[in-house]
Symmetry: C2
Subunit: 716 residues, 2 copies
């Protein structure tokens, strides 16, 4: 291979005590940057090896002395007690029962108590503060309605930083529990800025400070029972940003007060997968502005010391969403995203930051996130790396990123030479793709796909965390498929549609479950939304509905776009109404039935809906003409390379796009990208076996014999 | 066998032209009564054979000359057009498009038009009458919102009596379409009474007039496309009772007017499986009183001629529900119910009528209801009869009926001698059971089971028609199981519970799907209902929840009784909340996993819920202590003899009842009934194979060797 593809754009996690290994692997993988990892420090031999140095900082953590001296500077959250049945007129509610008491401490300060609430959940009624009292972890409610259930909502200090808590409890660490400071606390904020200045002064070798991430962690609530240790985890929720000070600042600015119930929501909390209230949206904006303003001050300090500030978009990221309104104002020099999947690659690549870097998986750790061995006996880290690479490379072919890297403990690679070779090969392929992008974008069909959901562009590509954390949501499968397809993709909200966003759309996708944020829930009760989508398709647009698109009770159809889709779903409302009988018809393209689940309630709205696939007697994949446009319905969608191909075939069928412009293979497991400026065809074999395929591209037909999983890059 | 069990209590359908066969089979089956069937007339040889004669009358049918002379005396209904998308400001709605035009004719008389409505379904808004006009089957709406969908609701004459239409179209008859009169029409009513008087005078041989049934058929709407011929069929709906005259009478009495939308309900109509509106309840009561009053007049005429009036509870039964408030006031001398199942037997046996008669299946017809051959090539009517008998006999052992019988064309039995033998044997077993009941009721456990749903006692045992018509509803499976168990069963409504009905209940059952009439839907938002059930179990009662019991959105749990059941269901609201991990525990009784479907959203509410069966990772059968009581949750319930046994085992476990009092077998496929006054044990082998079992009853242990499917009656 050419030398130019053997160096650069690679960040290696160095490890003190393994200086020789660090430099050897830096050479092998072509690393131009060496970084430390969480909890590690680089030694002088590494710092002076002539490579750039990234240093990781978790800004709100590792200040236990300050936290102990100023316990009110710690972060907080609302919790809800278990519900207690009133056997008599008085009921005692133990507040923290069921929670992990190493994570939480009750904040019963007067200013916190003012925000506490007691609810009669049976009657859905707030209990007046005069009817309850608090003492020693227990609230006693008087004047109860017998047999009603009562809960208490209260503020807690979060006394164990959640990532530390997770690593600690998972790996049986015995080190001190790390606490976390709230930058909204004036003393803490002054302290943190000073601390950062001191740090910069003390670390002249560092070129780039890698902030991991900023202030507020995603929501992660532990229970005391190992049968439900991780009670609640939502990677995209804002409920760990709350405090009396924040609530008061919010009220002063917005003119209305939030209450505990705005966060607690009957105990269901405010999960990202559910449609937000107006209060939640306001709170998010409020928090985003706060975080951006504070983060900008940190970046300014870093820049003042001649260093760059990159941010690792994970963990304590809350409030700095890269597609949010205020991200660019922070002034980060780079955005780092850990990736398992193609959609994460696109998420990083499309964000407004000067440098985009991917941290690959597996993390150099004995076990993986799923608890299976990686860098330990029985592990096959090279297989894991390759599996992730297959997802990532197709997205990398569509959109450029600048850097890749690894994380963790380098010495764990000892004994896994196949892994080291695999990373070397991936790094080369990455650099070749990057070089192609440098000469011009790959050919893309003239098809503009818009994914429609509640969050719109704010949550471009991701739902709430990684694929394996959200894979029960059909949309992440769709996004993963889209991440490698030669079409333009954007994410739009329901408000965008009403503001005219469909004028720039050819294919509209709505994919989710009834009532969730992805399908949309009650927003579909808005006639102007429904009629705008109706107009769009009637006049020639294409609609793809997946799962329970536009589902919302109270209408004459459950799917509010049923008249366009040609299918509806029976959740009981069609009692006694017979469904249309149908026979599956030949499909204009290969259908991957294995990607489509049975959804027994689905039925046709009329005899003109064409059924391409049937599962358990119900339509699982349909086509329907509506006016000058067309719609497709899929009962679900499980990502696989073949399923992604089916989605591409569907999009091409709906729009009549000429596939050859972007290159198209005759094999469902072979994908390609055509870089016209370089006259170069990139071909991926997604099959774990040799494959013969013919690619049709603007230069004609190209026959290829591919090794299992091969990446072939061909100048034509 | 004893002679006494060979005669009586049997109604035979006679057939003119087959006089010899009629009398032979009357002898073989011990028929004391010969009846005609729909569309047949008995000959003098049969009429004079010394047996009692039943004659069938469908009072509203076979008056075509009158109907033609008085077309406005025909029955009506509301229909809704297809929804039409407005491409411009004017939209044309063809009213009858998609309906079977031999069933319906538009009623565009001025008094009907006053009840028509046009709706903008997109905006859920009524269009003012000034904005639309009607001509030649089409409504034209002006001033439409572009891209909204418009429907029209209109009144139709129903010009083909539905049972005749069904038989006609199914069997390709060519005879005249029979029409039906509305007894609310004054001329029609006077005509019908006269007609009945004339009929009685002309038919002196008839001892019993078998009314089949009364005036208004259950709702059955045909479409013009064979892919959805039977568009809507609801055996328990009242929507075929409507007319301008009825609507006006309703308004005059109730002080508020019903509109088309009260019946059309966005096109979903008012199916029995869905919770009723107040308007629907009022309409039902209004109709029941009208039907009872008119029926009483018919019965009086019949009695005046020295005949008896039995009613066949099927077809045009609407308004005369045997468990309704006004049924007894009609004065019927007997109630006849066709039965496939045990629950239908109990429905008949428990109704307030002097004589209870069951019409067995199969009907003597070439094909069965499902379209498979019975009395034709490939048919095995004796197997069909036995299969139904297995369901019925266990219910017959619990509660007495007076008579059994058959229906249809007797000559079809020629060539099926095995059927004739099977019926002979069943008739003997029936008479033996009847004789046992005559000496005293079978022993029943001291357990009072109450099935809780919207309709309460009005819809005791049945949901809406036969088992095979409602088998997608879990409750019919539960009812079928209960129909043969040695427990007291009643059906109570939510209002009954609030009025204190639980004081007479040991085991409360709620079984249904979220939002349906059986689970209850929004009624569970009533805190007084939830707290009364909470009290009931807390103080020692038992609760069995099946499917989605008490499911209703908007609370802190989806199942409003989740705190009692120890399980809840996730329909998306638990996004990011981890479920409790669990392991299935040994069950105190055998679990029939095949009766329990996978319901993936079910999760435990806490670690104290005991899981007896797990399906696809979710709890499918659980037990949970609550206060002094207990609750069980079943993900569903598919009836089988073994499943019924499991339900009995569960009830006995929950209540601690002593099974021996009513007899209990050690084999899951063997059921029994203990008649203490006769010292007689009745044992049913539900298995299609020989079985050895031991029955434990108050007389001790009894070992039996049973033939496949045998009924054994033993004096101990």
């Amino acid at each position: 291979m050419e030398k130019e593809y053997h160096e650069g754009g690679f960040t290696l996690p160095g490890e003190a005590g393994y200086e020789k290994l660090t430099l050897e692997l830096a050479e092998k993988w072509g690393a131009d940057v060496i970084r430390d990892s969480d909890g590690t420090k680089l030694s002088p031999e590494i710092l002076n090896a002539g490579r750039k140095i990234y240093s990781t900082i978790c800004i709100i953590r590792e200040h236990n002395a300050f936290a102990q001296a100023h316990p009110d500077s710690q972060q907080q959250c609302f919790l809800i007690s278990e519900a207690v049945v009133a056997e008599k007129s008085e009921v005692a509610i133990p507040l923290l029962k069921g929670y992990f008491d190493e994570q939480f401490e009750i904040n019963d300060s007067p200013e916190a108590l003012a925000f506490w609430q007691v609810w009669d959940r049976t009657a859905d009624r707030l209990v007046p503060a005069s009817a309850w009292r608090y003492e020693n972890g227990v609230i006693t409610v008087t004047g109860c309605e017998k047999w009603h259930r009562y809960t208490a909502s209260f503020l807690c200090w979060r006394v164990w930083e959640e990532i530390n808590m997770y690593n600690h409890t998972t790996n049986s660490w015995t080190s001190e529990h790390l606490r976390q400071l709230d930058p909204r606390h004036p003393l803490a904020w002054a302290y943190l800025k000073d601390w950062l200045k001191n740090w910069c002064e003390a670390n002249p070798h560092t070129d780039v400070i890698r902030l991991t991430s900023l202030f507020y962690n995603f929501v992660w609530i532990f229970g005391d029972d190992m049968r439900r240790r991780s009670r609640f985890v939502d990677w995209a929720s804002y409920d760990f940003t709350v405090s009396p000070a924040a609530l008061k600042a919010f009220e002063a600015e917005y003119g209305y007060a939030l209450t505990a119930e705005d966060f607690i929501n009957k105990g269901l909390l405010q999960a990202t997968h559910r449609p937000p209230t107006k209060a939640k949206r306001d709170w998010m904006d409020f928090t985003q502005r706060f975080v951006a303003e504070k983060a900008r001050q940190l970046v300014e300090i870093i820049h003042r010391y001649g260093k760059q500030a990159y941010v690792f978009y994970d963990d304590s990221w809350v409030g700095m969403e890269p597609y949010g309104k205020y991200f660019a104002s922070i002034g980060f020099d780079g955005l780092i995203k850990c990736v398992f999947s193609g959609f994460e690659c696109r998420l990083c690549a499309g964000a407004p930051a000067p440098v985009h870097e991917l941290r690959f998986h597996p993390y150099l750790f004995p076990v993986g996130l799923g608890g299976l061995p990686t860098f330990s006996e029985g592990g096959h880290p090279e297989r894991d790396a390759l599996a992730y690479w297959l997802h990532v490379r197709r997205a990398l072919a569509r959109q450029c990123v600048d850097r890749i890297g690894l994380g963790g403990y380098l010495h764990l690679t000892l004994g896994f030479p196949a892994f080291n070779d695999a990373i070397e090969e991936m790094a080369v392929e990455f650099r070749k793709l990057k070089a192609l992008h440098a000469h011009g974008a790959p050919a893309c069909l003239n098809v503009r796909v818009a994914v429609l959901h509640t969050w719109g562009s704010l949550r471009s590509w991701t739902l709430s965390g990684h694929f394996h954390e959200t894979d029960a949501n059909v949309l992440i499968h769709v996004n993963e498929a889209l991440s490698g397809l030669p079409v333009q993709v954007k994410f739009i909200s329901f408000d965008d549609v009403k503001a005219g966003a469909l004028k720039d759309v050819d294919v509209l996708i709505n994919a989710g479950r009834m009532g969730d944020a992805w399908s949309g829930g009650d927003v579909w009760k808005d006639a102007s939304l429904v009629s705008e989508v109706t107009r769009f398709v009637y006049e020639g647009g294409s609609l793809i509905g997946v799962g329970e698109p536009s589902a919302c009770e109270g209408g004459d159809t459950l799917l509010r776009l049923a008249h366009i889709l040609g299918v509806d779903e029976d959740v009981g409302q069609y009692a006694c109404h017979a469904p249309w009988a149908f026979e599956a018809a030949p499909s204009p393209f290969p259908v991957r039935a294995e990607a489509l689940p049975a959804r027994p309630g689905v039925r046709l709205t009329g005899p003109d809906t064409q059924v391409l696939c049937e599962k358990d007697g119900a339509p699982a994949f349909t086509l329907h003409r509506f006016g000058k446009g067309r719609a497709a319905y899929l009962s679900g969608f499980e990502y696989s390379p073949a399923a992604a191909r089916m989605l591409m075939d569907l999009i091409a069928f709906l729009t009549g796009a000429d596939r050859r412009a972007a290159g198209v293979s005759d094999h469902p497991m072979v994908e390609c990208a055509w870089f016209p400026n370089d006259g170069t065809l990139v071909v991926f074999n997604n099959a774990d076996e040799p494959v013969e395929a013919t690619i049709t591209c603007p230069k004609g037909d190209v026959a290829v014999s591919l090794r299992p999983l091969e990446t072939r890059i061909m100048k034509l």
